[in-house]
């Protein structure tokens, strides 16, 4: 299958000298579901934001859909960004606006500044938004204000906003870290479904090893700003996982392939 995303030798150093990422290398193929796992502060969020340049990497190269993300100008960067949807831990919705208005925000990258300022959406865009919200099970919430929704529902609006961009890649930064187990399952099922049936590539940061094992095709382990594991979910061993988290055998809670291997 075709390679969609290539991360080459990417490093990020913050102003005060702390090195968040060093020499990160990996590729993601079209249609893959990849989970990035690792301890808190390992650089997972920074890595994700370096891909769409919400944070600028200090050095290295990223090629997304044949575009060199670090060589394009500002205008072209916006075009790259609209092909990459992003889902956040805290949903990042405009709480005072309705569900459909928040979902339609995903179209803003396709608009001229004037149409964007005035919020002029075409009839097709509105119908598309309604359809996506229906797929995500939010048809009864369409005109509700976003701050009246539960956490799981808000996250689904966040996913709708990303899907309406017609993205090729979905970046999810801890999408279930603030949700209860029930809503977490709903969100992960939707993400898996988006990947399998819509063919959208998904890269997701996760804290839950169990969830990563269950849903992903491939797992990338990050620790101390370095990739310490990169392999398919079938091939990962209990030893690998302990190495990713830098902990001793038996000190982690997870379930490998049904057997209690932790």
């Amino acid at each position: 299958m075709k390679t969609l995303l290539e991360v080459k030798n990417v490093s990020k150093q913050f102003g005060n000298g702390t090195k968040a990422l060093s020499n990160i290398d990996f590729t993601v193929k079209e249609g893959e579901f990849v989970s990035i796992i690792g301890p808190s502060g390992a650089g997972k969020s920074t890595l994700l934001r370096c891909i769409n340049r919400m944070i600028d990497a200090t050095s290295g190269e990223i090629i997304f859909d044949n575009d060199h993300v670090y060589k394009v100008n500002k205008r072209e960067l916006k075009k790259v960004r609209r092909k990459i949807g992003m889902v956040f831990q805290h949903y990042n919705l405009v709480n005072r606006l309705s569900v459909i208005e928040n979902a339609l925000h995903g179209r803003l990258g396709y608009k001229s500044t004037l149409a964007g300022i005035l919020g002029l959406y075409s009839e097709e865009e509105k119908l598309q938004a309604a359809k996506v919200l229906q797929i995500l099970g939010l048809e009864d919430q369409i005109y509700k204000r976003s701050d009246q929704l539960s956490g799981g529902q808000k996250q689904r609006v966040g996913i709708a906003r990303a899907l309406i961009q017609n993205p090729k890649l979905l970046l999810c930064d801890e999408p279930i870290a603030s949700l209860d187990p029930n809503s977490s399952k709903v969100i992960m099922d939707h993400l898996r479904n988006i990947c399998s049936s819509m063919g959208i590539t998904v890269v997701v940061n996760l804290h839950q090893v169990d969830v990563a094992l269950k849903y992903s095709d491939r797992i990338i382990g990050v620790n101390g700003g370095k990739v310490v594991f990169n392999g398919t979910t079938q091939n990962i061993t209990s030893n690998d996982i302990h190495q990713i988290y830098g902990s001793d055998e038996g000190k982690l809670i997870f379930d490998l392939g049904g057997s209690h291997a932790g």
């Binding site: 960004r81 992003m86 405009v94 005072r96 925000h105 919020g119 906003r161």
Partner: protein, 261 residues
Amino acid sequence: MPADVFAKKRRNSLLLFLLIGAATAVSIIITEFSIAKGVSSVPKAIQWSLSNFYPTKDSLIKLPDILIKLKETLLISVAATTIAGILAFAFAILGSNTTRVNGFFGGFSRGIAVLFRNIDVSIWALVLLFSFGQSSLTGYFALFFGSFGFLTRAFIETIDEVSSSSVEALQTTGASYLTVISQSVIPSTIPQMISWVLFMIETNIRNATLVGLLTGSGIGFTFNLYYKNLSYDIASLVVITIIISIISIELISNYVRRVIL
């Protein structure tokens, strides 16, 4: 040892209390202020107010004149605040860490806000008196500058607090800068900004009396005029109209706040 921690805390509280007490005592001695004299003069002051400072039937003739001046003062306060609010919004967008264009403009607009905020409205009134003379315009600009500094600061904090997460989300969709401002910053911050503007209008109506006194315009000047003419009955009528208008403005703005927030 936990016991030591508590003993230390008690010692610190006692020390702080003694320090405040000492500071008070020293201040009283230096200024030769007598508490006994101060307290005993309160009944006298009340007695004087009750016997002189109340409106009489004759003073009501002046009521239409007073109301014209009051209306002028209220409208100037409202106009100064709202125009300052619009300018403050532009500066807040540039000064906020979430929406600033670059470090230079960020520092510049924050600096301007600090400068204008830290000069009191009474100082502005006296300084502007030289440029504009005794007119309503002087009062208007004094209120305008003070509100502008305060509102810029308040708006910057509102933007950073309320809209930083949705700004990030809209930037990732590839939306342009002005689109992000109008679709994310404005809808999420507008109620709090209106609330700040209402607060500023209330404050400015109170300040307008003082500013008018200093710049010789509006209701402050009217009060000063009758007070210095020893027409205490009319002066008291002025005070009563001011109190009534301040309370009504506050009730109205509380209602508006309840509806929009």
